[in-house]
Subunit: 113 residues, 4 copies
Amino acid sequence: MEDLIKRVREFRQERDWGQYHSPKNLVIALMVETAELAEHFQWLTEEQSCSLQPDKLAEVQEEIGDVLIYLANLCDRLGIDPMSAAYEKLEKNKGKYPAAKVQGKYLKYNQYK
Amino acid sequence: MEDLIKRVREFRQERDWGQYHSPKNLVIALMVETAELAEHFQWLTEEQSCSLQPDKLAEVQEEIGDVLIYLANLCDRLGIDPMSAAYEKLEKNKGKYPAAKVQGKYLKYNQYK
Amino acid sequence: MEDLIKRVREFRQERDWGQYHSPKNLVIALMVETAELAEHFQWLTEEQSCSLQPDKLAEVQEEIGDVLIYLANLCDRLGIDPMSAAYEKLEKNKGKYPAAKVQGKYLKYNQYK
Amino acid sequence: MEDLIKRVREFRQERDWGQYHSPKNLVIALMVETAELAEHFQWLTEEQSCSLQPDKLAEVQEEIGDVLIYLANLCDRLGIDPMSAAYEKLEKNKGKYPAAKVQGKYLKYNQYK
């Protein structure tokens, strides 16, 4: 991931695009790309979404690439390490959703008894 | 990233949440988390978004963690390697936006002359 | 709708919030509110989404209220009449998706033969 | 708005698209359309977003049409009256954000002293 962030930064600097890439703008771009990813799934059933055709899968992969590129860009501008952010949140989620308690049920963490 | 995907998978399996985690549902969750991230920026100026206060930055980091966790989850269900997806897309973008041509300008790739 | 736009404008002016309500910011807010609406549906099956419990429905109604309020706000700032926009787009869609051709099938308009 | 909902319903029925238009799917579509609207603003400054060129404004108007069409569709499926939802929420917001208290400041309602 560090290497991706480095390359995304070089890509931006070579094009002198830093002036457009404020965190605020990057966050909008991230939402736009995420929605383009979602567009591929909007009329599929859940079952269909589990077994995409190869050409569809290739398109989805490209959109995932875009999402990760903008996420790397955003993290670079904010000075956040995305991997640490994910690991820390995952640990926190283990506390919020203890496996023994939430087995097979999906509620907000404050709705478990 | 591979390690994160592995841990996210274990987290899901220990809770028996696979039944909820169809790619379609994960894509909705990804959009919801991305919007929660965006919420922190919605009333900031671009300039303010470049220098967040430490407590705000910590909240933003958590949301980025959530985004990356769901992205890892989605990639695991689809059998897509997110890092490859990002590198391939970045290469493609280099072709679409040659540095010499787009220097300091930001248009859709088909709007450059 | 005109009346709603008028009231939303008064609400904004009484609070002196015009300075925050640039179209760009309102569009982010609109995405955030739409995602809050979507959050209620993310782990439901399509079938479950068709028959919400009354308390859930009340929460969904509130989120729909927020979405429409921000849409009214945005249209006011841009000088766009949302009802005309919808009617014109609906007419356009009739041309793009002729009933006889698309009966029971859901493709992008350029994928019909 | 009632008339728009009626016409959107006819449009759906003539095409036999009800099978695709579960509230869950419509909510995804609503997010996708909202993001397409946002895409027009992502690299603009707030100031630029206040004075769009006529051709840009026409494109934005079309996207707003799409958003309102899907919102009407969703409300029809859920049996929710969007205008009532907006008016009720606006009243609620007046209680949460009293004009005298929030004058020119923009915080979450529980952050005012």
